[in-house]
Symmetry: C2
Subunit: 486 residues, 2 copies
Amino acid sequence: MNDATSTAEAALVARLAERLGAAHVVSALTDIEPHLIESRGLYRGRALAVVRPRDVHEVSFVLAQCSEAGLPVVPQGGNTGLVGGGVPHGGVVISLARLNAIRGLDPVNATITVEAGVTLKTIQDAADEADRLFPLSLASEGTCQIGGNLATNAGGTGVLRYGNARDLVLGLEVVLADGRIWNGLKGLRKDNTGYDLKHLFVGSEGTLGIITAAVLKLYPKPKATVTAFLGCEGPQAALQVFERLREGAGDQLTAFEYIPRFGLELVLKHADGVTRPLQGEHAAYALVELSSPRADADLASVIETVLGAAIEEGLVEDATIGASEAQNAALWKLREMLSEVQGREGGSIKHDVSVPVSRVADFIVEASTACEAAMDGIRVCAFGHFGDGNIHFNLTQPVGMEKAAFLAEWERFNRIVHDIVHAYDGSIAAEHGVGLIKRDELKLYKDPVAIEMMLAVKAALDPRDTLNPGKVVALSPEAPAALPGR
Amino acid sequence: MNDATSTAEAALVARLAERLGAAHVVSALTDIEPHLIESRGLYRGRALAVVRPRDVHEVSFVLAQCSEAGLPVVPQGGNTGLVGGGVPHGGVVISLARLNAIRGLDPVNATITVEAGVTLKTIQDAADEADRLFPLSLASEGTCQIGGNLATNAGGTGVLRYGNARDLVLGLEVVLADGRIWNGLKGLRKDNTGYDLKHLFVGSEGTLGIITAAVLKLYPKPKATVTAFLGCEGPQAALQVFERLREGAGDQLTAFEYIPRFGLELVLKHADGVTRPLQGEHAAYALVELSSPRADADLASVIETVLGAAIEEGLVEDATIGASEAQNAALWKLREMLSEVQGREGGSIKHDVSVPVSRVADFIVEASTACEAAMDGIRVCAFGHFGDGNIHFNLTQPVGMEKAAFLAEWERFNRIVHDIVHAYDGSIAAEHGVGLIKRDELKLYKDPVAIEMMLAVKAALDPRDTLNPGKVVALSPEAPAALPGR
């Protein structure tokens, strides 16, 4: 514990240690270090202690104590967030890692009841064993925890067919700022007994309450899958192909991921064990997946019909269909490596944005042109969940530029890209959330009445502002300063 | 305007008439009569005036004026609700009927933007013309309005595949109690810019704000449909058949509606132009629909495979598959007539409940047994959205009993049925909402912290309690008394 710790704070930490056990209330810098840093290492926080309650009652105790003392509490799951939402500024970090039980799985109701600290991968595996699918799928699925996925309303590659994290939740157990426990763990498909409180907590980034358990929806497990990789002359053609696939495949279209030529070339340059999927180069690529719970669904003929017609009309220049699990995995790897390889090419300025699907191609073209005009040699890597209108609009530094000099331009490019997003009726925080990074920028683009309502709800549920203060909205003047917009 | 109207209230009504035009602020009893009664005629309210704003700005003006004056405002769409949520107790009724424009339809984004007063049927038709589907489907679709559908989070027969009304909303425009306008009319599939406010208003029954417009999701239009009607030995067998169909048909299973023998016999007895769908009688029937956006989807073979196996194993006793549109419509009519024919058989005590799907068969058996034990000759008509776990657990009076004497037992049967629902982790208000009818009963079954949060949210957004006061929750001691639980 550092020198600045007051007697009152020390007494509080002692009370927590008494209830949770000394082993689960740690203050030594070496122990708490991993909880102070943000996953990309961009920011570093500080905390009195990291506490690891074992159940909802201990979570309740910690929150009641901290609320009483007016001390901030920052919840953390796998600490894989990308917007500084888990960075503490004093107070206590509460790790949900020990709440890691799967409480039950009901295959007929198609639900699984899990505690907040269960990793996403563990839930996927449990569903799979029961011949079901839990469709949330993210790059960090091996380490991220479901509590964090829900608190941030995580997106990922399954959204096109199955929705965001919030769409997969039927019930929640939540501890409020003052320690009250809400038992809303219902597994119902229809329930109109009043306001839908679960949707308040999902996506609130730990600022309204701490999710300790959830009832999640499961789906029939896909028994047939086909994966294709196609090249076309640009985003407009890709959008038309997307439409054709949606018409032709309906619900069987379970992924449509967009990769620009520059992105694919980066993967081929920097990643190991990847091969060029199509002969020649194309301005735009798409990774397409169709799947069905019916083993006898003839997905190959569906995709061949659609792509055949699209090739005939010149919308698709070339395409390949995976002929085996291994080939499918190799095609997916090209998409999955995209985030990582950008770092190997130098500095990268990133934007997680969305627009209406009908405007996603126009958006990519307009925003790319604007960024290229703003800096000679900048390289646009706009990729991602095209079928959701969600683009990771990333900018790679010009060859030979100083990385730091490039990153110093972050705010300028935020304004260029986000102004265009706004003009397209889009969102400047599509799937990663607001956290501390986009909090103040939100005021530039969000309807002011929406922000007033957010503050009113925050004040109603956390009047002392002890739950992850300063994240998403700044209730008190003493809230931590927003982080630079990256 | 009645004699008790105060000078201040008269002045307010005059101000509203000045802004909206005298033709759209009516007070004569003959004019306002249709707005005072509940759709089943069970309750009768009173109001100073009915006002009919033409746009969101006029709605804002009305709400600001009423908030200032502390006068209640009750919003009404088609006034087809079943829980007394639209019954006024003084103050002003605000009809959304003149906000009836379809503002736009984007086929590629698969969205339609509509004002609150557009009828559900008009939206379905507009989607259909654009070769899309708006899947919300209710008995009252010709007269109910989308604002009311969203305010009550309507359910219906499309929920199994497409979700409740809330799942079909991407964005909202809402006027708050004090007249502030929230423009949240985004058509985005991913948007994590803060708390999800739209889900607060959907299902809040007009107590937190008045929805004036919405961006709704559209789906590919089904191009192939197969409808079947099957008989089996009881709800347990029906549940197993449901599971088989979900496994075999996946997303193509778009309806699974349950009808008990007594229900079918009532339809055959009282409805015109219906014929017995299967030879012989069966304890339980199900109406099943499979559909697909692919015209070449071989749905008949899917359902024949599943039902063939189920007949072989004795799970299904008999089944018929519609061979034409006309035959499909005839099978659906058997289900659609169910509500109406109960009224022709005498008094009916109704419960709109849900339980986990895995427990729906057990629930029907246990609740039926309990009701039959509680009154000699009572006839259980438990039917409905079996695949959602949502049962309309209705009770028809014994033959020869006085209707009024039977209905006097409503509260006693509420307790019997709802106690069992609660024991099954279910909901006592599955799709019709809370309104004034279930408000006080909610306290018996809902988590107390949930009710505290609902009150906190209500107080935060409508501190003067002028928006549909006393519905869902009672914020002020002066709130209207709850209506008898029916």
